[in-house]
Amino acid sequence: MQTHALLNVNRDLLSPFFERVPELFDKYHNDPESNPELYEELLYKIHRPMTIEMLDMIDDWMGLEHRRLNKDQDLMLRLFLLAIRYPDTLLLESLDDVIIEDVRRISAYLHFTSHTYTIWDQDTRKGLKLLGFDIPDTERADPFIYGAYVGTIELIKDLAPFTCFLEHDVPRQRLFQAAIAQFGREA
């Protein structure tokens, strides 16, 4: 898989992006609309055992209405979050249709409970396309599409030169997701 991914990398598209990563990240992450203070608080406040209140805090930061799940679905969701280990995404299949239908929400839960997963976002998807990676659009947390999204951001992170990493205090997946989102937003 890694070989296939590397052979499909377009260096000419990536190089100008890598030169701007710190600046792009700063613009996106520190935009008051992104509420960076609350994001950074959530890095600390979300921890095991995951409570309903913690997931509500993530919904609030994402600007989503709170979930309307019954008790069993809530339990299923929290057990899923405890069980999943990066880079697995197939476990998404174990979720109830009501939960799996919202990729933005579930990806945010995954990001705050296990930082190696990234938040699904349309600007990021646009940015990925500009970098040569066309990830299909979806509302549903499809394990393969979301897996490709996360894996691509991870690949970009691995290929990035050290100058991208020098100044930040958020997880590296957020650093790159935010920078790619800003890149997509500017297009």
């Binding site: 990536l14 600390y44 921890h47 190696t116 030169p161 050290f162 990493f165």
Partner: protein
Amino acid sequence: MSKTEIVEGYTPNFEGWVQEFHEWQTRIGFDPAWLGDYRFEIRFDWISAGESIEFGDFEGMPKWSRRMQIPQQNIRDAIITMISVQGDTEFASVEQQNHLLATAPTEYDRKSALRIMCEEQRHGWQMAYLLCTYFGEQGVREAAKLLERNAQDGTRLLGSFNAPIDHWLDFFCFTHFIDRDGKYQLKMLSTSSFQPLAASMGPMLKEESFHLGTGANGLRRIVKAGVIPTSFLQKYVNKWVSTGLDLFGTDESTSAQWAYVYGVKGRYDERESNNDADRDHLNEASRGLYFDEIKAEMARISKGRPEGDPELYIPSDKFNRGIGKYSGKLYTVTGEDFEGTEEEYAEYLASVLPSDEDERKLVEEYMAPGVEWIQYREWKG
């Protein structure tokens, strides 16, 4: 764009050194089982390293990739010294810190510190690999010395790396201030005319950014927890800043100037800067950038302090310096001349730096078991 090369086979010289490394781990009490599935690897980023010498008298010529391409013995000696000093700091920090694992405030901190120690050892491996692989007998001797000197015996090459790190506050200050200095040193070597040295720096810098992030986050979490007053924390900031500033070396350094002439070590912003280097004040220029950076970082760390606590600040770059033009002179933390005798200055220093009583209070009261002196954080992989 960079793709890291991981070296698969080692020379006999380096394999011999690896045996000595395992003995060193046992000697300092670092249990190899703590590494888990972590593997020491030799990593190079050749693309970031560049092909042509970027500054100095050899500018524009191809970078040197073997010892015999280096035109003069004194340049080889300068490169060996740079690699040896860098390697020495990597192993020293593990010697200073590994005892802290037993008293980590949270599992997150234990794992972070362990990751840092693994990566510092990998950086030491990388430097030893360069010495053993590229510099023959002389390199092998210098690589052996990396494991013979010891921080606890006070025989490491740089002062900060012989200072005891007795508790987690010192650990966070060390990773924030001293590893940040490390970032500067690595970046200055990332443009080196000796290509294997320059190519070593990319992967090391990616790892180093986690180390200093751990320090900054640790200090921020202590401030947010609000148990240790900022007036008390300030004494530890005062203690570590002067050490960090001294690590940049003497003012008007001729060895920094020669390293620049040889193209071995550049400025921190060598590739970004549009100005010619002021070769007489290379250390001062890097130190100035570092000083500005730690001031901005401290303002961010201080933001989370409880209402009524004084703001944390970076003391003057004149205060308590061990080398350079301010060394041996009496200055206050705010950089004014101290009016008084040497005895009075000693009393003043005792009031602005951690005393034995402060150390006792920190460990026995503020950090006593059950006290949540640092904001909780979970390890999330």
